[in-house]
C-alpha cells in the first residue's frame, strides 16, 4: 500500500479506510474456508478416534503416540527425507545450469524456453506413465541404452536395494542395511520429479538473472575476471534471493510428494518392499485406503505440517542471513 498516493480516490471519503479490506475479503474467505479451517479441524480431529464419517471419542495424544511407535511411519519419514535430500540439490543445480545456458542470446531461445517448460504443464499422470515405460525392466529405453553400451540392465522401479549398496557391491563391499541408502526405485521417482520441475525453476532463475545489472559484469570484466570469476563473484551472490526462494519452494513441494509415487510405484504402491512409501502416501493410505482412520491420518498431516513449518522458519532465520539483497 506504500506506493498509493495519499490523495488516491480509494482513501478519500468515509469508506476510504474500509476499501482495502473489502478487496482482500474474497481471497481471505477462500483461504480461511479451504485452508485455515481445515488445518484447525485436522488439528482437532487428530485428538479423536475418528473414522470416515464418525468421531468416537477423545483420545488425547494417543494418535501421536501410536504414530511415533509405528516403524512404517519412520520408514516413510526416512524415505521422504531421502527424497528431499535427493530432489532439492539436483533440481536447483540443474535448473540453474539450464537457466545460465538459456540466458545467453542463442538462436531459438524462445523455443528452448518453451521446451523446458513443457513438462511443467504436462499432466503428472502422463509424465509418470511415460517414465514408467522408460524404466521398464525388459522393454524400457533405459535398459536398452545400458545394454547397447554393454552394461548390465538394472531393475529400476522394481529395485528395492539401496543405491550406495548397488554402487559399492561391485567393489566387493557389503553395507549394513541402514547404510544402503534410498532404493534405486526411489531415485527413479526423484529423477522424474526433478525432470518435471526443472522448467518452473528455470523460469524463476531466468527472472532472477535478468535482475542482475549488466554494469556489474562490465566492471568485473574490466577488473580482469574470467567466466568462472564472474559467476563466483557476481552472478552467484546476486542470485541468492532467487536461489533461496527456489530452495524453500522445492523443499516444501518435495516433502509433499505424492502423485509420482502413487502413479509409478507398486503394486502395492510404495513398493518395492515399502522403499518408496513417503509420508503423504502413508497418510493417504491410513486415512482413505483400507483403514479409513481419519484421526490417525490427521495426526500424520499435522506432524508433516510441523516439520515443514519448522524447516521453513529455520531457512528464513538461518539460511536467509547468507542471502544478498542487492
Amino acid at each position: 500500500m506504500a506506493d498509493l498516493e495519499p490523495t488516491s480516490p480509494l482513501q478519500r471519503g468515509k469508506w476510504g479506510h474500509v476499501m482495502p479490506y473489502l478487496f482482500l475479503l474474497p481471497a481471505a474467505i477462500i483461504i480461511v474456508t479451504f485452508r485455515l479451517l481445515p488445518i484447525l479441524s485436522a488439528l482437532a480431529v487428530s485428538f479423536f478416534d475418528a473414522s470416515f464419517g464418525k468421531i468416537r471419542g477423545f483420545v488425547g495424544l494417543d494418535q501421536y503416540a501410536k504414530l511415533f511407535a509405528d516403524p512404517e511411519f519412520w520408514n516413510s519419514a526416512v524415505n521422504t527425507v531421502w527424497f528431499v535430500v535427493g530432489a532439492v540439490p539436483l533440481s536447483v543445480a540443474t535448473s540453474l545450469f539450464f537457466a545460465l545456458l538459456l540466458r545467453k542470446g542463442i538462436r531459438g531461445l524462445g523455443l528452448y524456453r518453451t521446451i523446458y517448460f513443457l513438462p511443467v504443464v504436462t499432466s503428472f499422470v502422463a509424465v509418470s506413465m511415460v517414465w514408467k515405460l522408460i524404466f521398464h525392466v525388459r522393454f524400457g529405453l533405459a535398459n536398452a541404452l545400458i545394454e547397447k553400451m554393454g552394461g548390465n540392465p538394472l531393475e529400476w522401479l522394481e529395485e528395492p536395494t539401496g543405491i550406495f549398496e548397488l554402487m559399492l557391491r561391485p567393489l566387493g563391499w557389503d553395507l549394513p542395511t541402514w547404510a544402503e541408502g534410498p532404493s534405486l526405485a526411489l531415485i527413479c521417482v526423484v529423477i522424474v520429479s526433478v525432470w518435471r520441475g526443472i522448467g518452473y525453476n528455470v523460469v524463476i532463475f531466468l527472472a532472477g538473472l535478468q535482475n542482475i545489472p549488466e554494469h556489474y559484469y562490465e566492471a568485473a570484466r574490466i577488473d580482469g575476471a574470467g567466466r568462472a570469476g564472474m559467476f563466483r563473484h557476481v552472478t552467484w551472490p546476486l542470485l541468492t534471493p532467487t536461489t533461496f526462494y527456489v530452495v524453500v519452494m522445492t523443499t516444501i513441494l518435495s516433502f509433499q510428494v505424492f502423485a509420482p509415487i502413487y502413479l509409478m510405484t507398486g503394486p502395492p504402491v510404495g513398493g518395492p518392499l515399502g522403499t518408496t512409501n513417503v509420508i503423504v502416501y502413508y497418510l493417504f493410505e491410513k486415512g482413505f485406503d483400507a483403514g479409513g482412520n481419519m484421526g490417525y491420518a490427521s495426526a500424520v498431516a499435522l506432524v508433516l505440517f510441523a516439520v515443514i513449518l519448522v524447516l521453513t522458519l529455520f531457512q528464513r532465520k538461518v539460511v536467509e542471513k547468507r542471502v544478498h539483497y542487492a
Binding site: 483461504i31 479451504f34 485452508r35 479451517l37 481445515p38 488445518i39 479441524s41 485436522a42 480431529v45 478416534d49 475418528a50 473414522s51 470416515f52 464419517g53 464418525k54 468421531i55 468416537r56 522401479l157 522394481e158 528395492p160 526462494y245 524453500v248 519452494m249 516444501i252 513441494l253 516433502f255 509433499q256 505424492f258 507398486g266 503394486p267 502395492p268 510404495g270 513398493g271 518395492p272 518392499l273 515399502g274 503423504v280 497418510l283 493417504f284 493410505e285 486415512g287 482413505f288 485406503d289 483400507a290 483403514g291 479409513g292 482412520n293 481419519m294 491420518a297 490427521s298 498431516a301 508433516l304 505440517f305 515443514i308 513449518l309 521453513t312
Partner: protein, 429 residues
C-alpha cells in the same frame, strides 16, 4: 514473502481430507430425495463390464422404472465415495459392496436387510436356486445384509499352442500343485540360446489373491472361526507360501510383473499360463492369436476356492425407493438376466438354473474349460466379513508375500510377523 503462499500448498491434502470430515458431524439425517428422483446405483464396473451393466439397466428402465447407474471408477474409489456419502447423510439407493465393507454400514444403520423383501410382498422365485455359498457370505448375525451380484472365481488361462509345443496334453490345465510346477518348468524356453529364458511357464503380479487360494487349497483359513484373529500364518499357510515361492521365484519358470502387465505378456504369447479372475476373459477376449484354454486352478490337498467379487447392498431411504431398488436386484438376479450378465462379463451366474439358459450354454460351448472352472463354485468358501480384513490383507501382501517373492524373507518368519501386525489392524475399532 512469496513463498508463504506455497507453504500452505501442502495443506491442500489436509484440506481435501477435511472437506470430507467437515460433513462428518451430521447425525445421519438425510434428505431421501423426492420419489421422482431416479434410484441411484453406485458401482465400480468399467469397460466391457460397465457396458454390459448399462445395457441391462436400460432394459430394466424400459419396463417403466427410473434407475440410474453411476460408475465410481475402481472399487477403492467406490468404497471412499460410499463412506463419504453415508457420512454426509446422502447415500445412494444401491451400491456394490464387499463382504468386509458391510459390517461398517450395518454398524452405521445405513442398510436395509434383505429378509424384509425375501419374505415380503415381492419375494424372489425359488430361493433354493441360488448357490448356497453366496448366501453364506451375505449373512451376518442371522440377517442377509447383501445380495450376490457380481461374483467371480479365480481360474487358470493357458496357451494351448505352447502346451502342444512342450508336449503337454492341451485338453486340460495342470490338476495338482506338483503338475503346476512341472508344467511351468517345461513351458519355460530359452528361444535365442543366450542362456536366459525368453518364454515363461507362468506370470503373475505380486498379489495376495494367489496366496489366498493356495492357502484354502492347502486346508488353511484366512481368519479364525469367529474372525477375531488371522490364521494365515498356520503351518498350512507357511507351506502354501513356500509353494508359491518355489513356483514363482525359485524354479525360475515364472515372470513377476508390475500391475496387470502379466496379462499382456500372456496375450503376446510370451507366457504359457496365468491365473486370473473369471472376469479377465471379458478383458482378453479377441486379443490373442493362439488357442486359449481355461481351467480350474490346480488342486492342493483339498479342492477349494475363495469366491471373489462383490454383492450389492440396499440403503435405508423411503419405503417406495427401497421397494424399487429391490425390484432391480430381484430382476437382475432372475435366471435370464443373471445368465446374460454372466455370458457377457465372465462373472458367475448367481442361480444354478442359469447354467442351462441358452445364452449361457452357448458361452460354455465356446469356452469348453469354462464349465469346469465355474464348477469351482460348488467347493468355494466365502470372503472374510471382518471389517478390518482389507487392512489386514494389505499387511499380508506387503509384509509377507512381497518380501518372500523378492527373496528378502523366509515364508515362516514373514507370515508370523505379518500376522501379528494384521491382527492389530483386524481389531482396530
Amino acid at each position: 514473502m512469496r513463498f508463504t503462499a506455497g507453504r500452505f500448498r501442502r495443506l491442500l491434502i489436509t484440506g481435501t481430507m477435511l472437506g470430507v470430515l467437515g460433513c462428518a458431524g451430521g447425525d445421519g439425517e438425510r434428505d431421501p430425495g423426492s420419489s421422482a428422483d431416479p434410484i441411484k446405483f453406485w458401482h465400480a464396473m468399467g469397460g466391457p463390464l460397465g457396458r454390459s451393466l448399462d445395457g441391462l439397466v436400460d432394459e430394466f428402465n424400459a419396463a417403466g422404472h427410473d434407475l440410474e447407474s453411476v460408475s465410481m471408477g475402481k472399487y477403492q474409489a467406490l468404497s471412499q465415495k460410499v463412506m463419504a456419502a453415508v457420512a454426509a447423510g446422502g447415500p445412494p439407493d444401491l451400491a456394490q459392496c464387499y463382504e468386509a465393507w458391510t459390517a461398517n454400514l450395518i454398524e452405521n444403520q445405513s442398510l436395509v436387510p434383505f429378509g424384509r423383501f425375501l419374505e415380503g410382498a415381492s419375494p424372489v422365485r425359488d430361493m433354493d436356486d441360488f448357490y448356497e455359498i453366496y448366501l453364506r457370505g451375505a449373512e451376518q448375525g442371522g440377517e442377509i445384509w447383501s445380495f450376490p451380484f457380481n461374483k467371480s472365481v479365480r481360474c487358470l488361462y493357458y496357451n494351448k499352442d505352447m502346451f502342444r509345443e512342450a508336449g503337454i496334453d492341451p485338453a486340460h490345465g495342470p490338476r495338482t500343485w506338483e503338475e503346476y510346477r512341472d508344467y511351468a518348468r517345461r513351458l519355460t524356453v530359452d528361444t535365442d540360446g543366450d542362456g536366459k529364458a525368453d518364454r515363461f511357464g507362468l506370470a503373475s503380479q505380486i498379489t495376495a489373491s494367489m496366496f489366498e487360494n493356495l492357502l484354502v487349497q492347502n486346508g488353511g483359513t484366512l481368519l479364525n472361526e469367529d474372525e477375531s484373529a488371522v490364521s494365515f500364518d498356520s503351518p498350512e499357510g507357511v507351506e502354501a507360501l513356500e509353494f508359491m515361492a518355489d513356483l514363482l521365484v525359485r524354479d525360475g519358470s515364472a515372470l513377476i510383473s508390475q500391475g496387470f502387465e502379466y496379462q499382456n505378456e500372456f496375450l503376446a504369447g510370451k507366457v504359457a499360463m496365468i491365473e486370473g479372475s473369471s472376469v479377465s476373459l471379458a478383458f482378453i477376449e479377441g486379443k490373442y492369436g493362439f488357442e486359449l484354454g481355461i481351467a480350474p486352478l490346480p488342486m492342493g490337498k483339498i479342492d477349494a476356492q475363495l469366491v471373489a467379487g462383490t454383492d450389492v447392498v440396499l440403503f435405508a431411504t423411503t419405503p417406495e425407493r427401497e421397494a424399487t431398488a429391490w425390484e432391480f436386484v430381484k430382476w437382475f438376479t432372475e435366471t435370464e438376466q443373471t445368465a446374460r450378465w454372466s455370458a457377457e462379463t465372465g462373472y458367475l451366474p448367481v442361480r444354478k438354473s442359469a447354467m442351462e439358459d441358452p445364452v449361457m450354454v452357448a458361452k460354455l460351448e465356446r469356452y469348453p474349460g469354462l464349465r469346469e472352472a465355474y464348477a469351482q463354485l460348488e467347493r468355494a468358501v466365502p470372503q472374510p466379513q471382518a471389517k478390518g480384513w482389507f487392512a489386514g490383507r494389505n499387511v499380508l501382501e506387503r509384509e509377507a508375500i512381497e518380501p518372500v517373492l523378492r527373496g528378502r524373507m523366509e515364508p515362516a518368519e514373514a507370515l508370523h510377523a505379518a500376522a501379528r501386525k494384521a491382527n492389530a489392524e483386524l481389531l482396530a475399532p
